[in-house]
Symmetry: C2
Subunit: 116 residues, 2 copies
Amino acid sequence: MTNQSTPIIKQYVALIVLEKLDNSFDSIEQIAQKLIIGLDLHVVNEMSHSFDPEGITLAYILSESHLLIHTWPEMGIIHIDLVTCSYKSKEDFENSLNKALSEKNIKSLEIKAVDF
Amino acid sequence: MTNQSTPIIKQYVALIVLEKLDNSFDSIEQIAQKLIIGLDLHVVNEMSHSFDPEGITLAYILSESHLLIHTWPEMGIIHIDLVTCSYKSKEDFENSLNKALSEKNIKSLEIKAVDF
C-alpha cells in the first residue's frame, strides 16, 4: 500500500543456519555492524540481552526504523529483521548479509520480504 | 522450515492506519502494554526513541523474541512487528491488536505473517 499517503516501509527477514555459530557477543555484534555499515543505516539507540543458557538478542533503533538480531546457537540459527524507510531492495539486503557472513560457513539462508 | 531442528518462530507484522493518531508516548506505550498483556509476552529489556519532529519507536526484547512499534503520526500510521517463539496464531495477534486498539478509530488494519 505504499503510495504518496504512506511512508516507504521496506521489511526483510532472514533466517540463517550456520554450520557452527560463534555465539559470542562480539561475533554477533560484528555481523550487525557489517550490516549497518553495508546498508548505510544510522543507529539512534541500541540494547541487547543474553539469554540463559544461550541465545543473544541485539536491538537497534535506526533513524530508518529497526534492526533486530536473535540467535539460537544450539541450532546454529540467526534471525535478522530489518525494517527501513529508505529505498533498500531485497538484493541490497541479501548482498550486505552475504558480505557480513562471508567468513561464516552458511548451511542455509532464506530471506522474506514483508509487503503491504 | 519449522521442524524439530528449528525453533518455533512466529512473526506477525501489522500496518494500521487510524483516523487520528494520538502520538503521545503514553498513548503508544498503552497500546504496547495491552498487546504484551493480551498475548502473555514477557519483557526482558526495553527502549524507545522519539523522532524529530514526530514519530515514536518503542522496542521490547521479550523472553519470546521481540515487539517493535513505530508511528508515523502525520499519516496516522502504526507499524507493529512481533516475533515470538511461543505458539501464537495470527488470530491471537489480530484479536489482541483489536482489543489494544478498541478505543481508536481504525481506518485500515492489515496483518502479514512471515513464514519460513
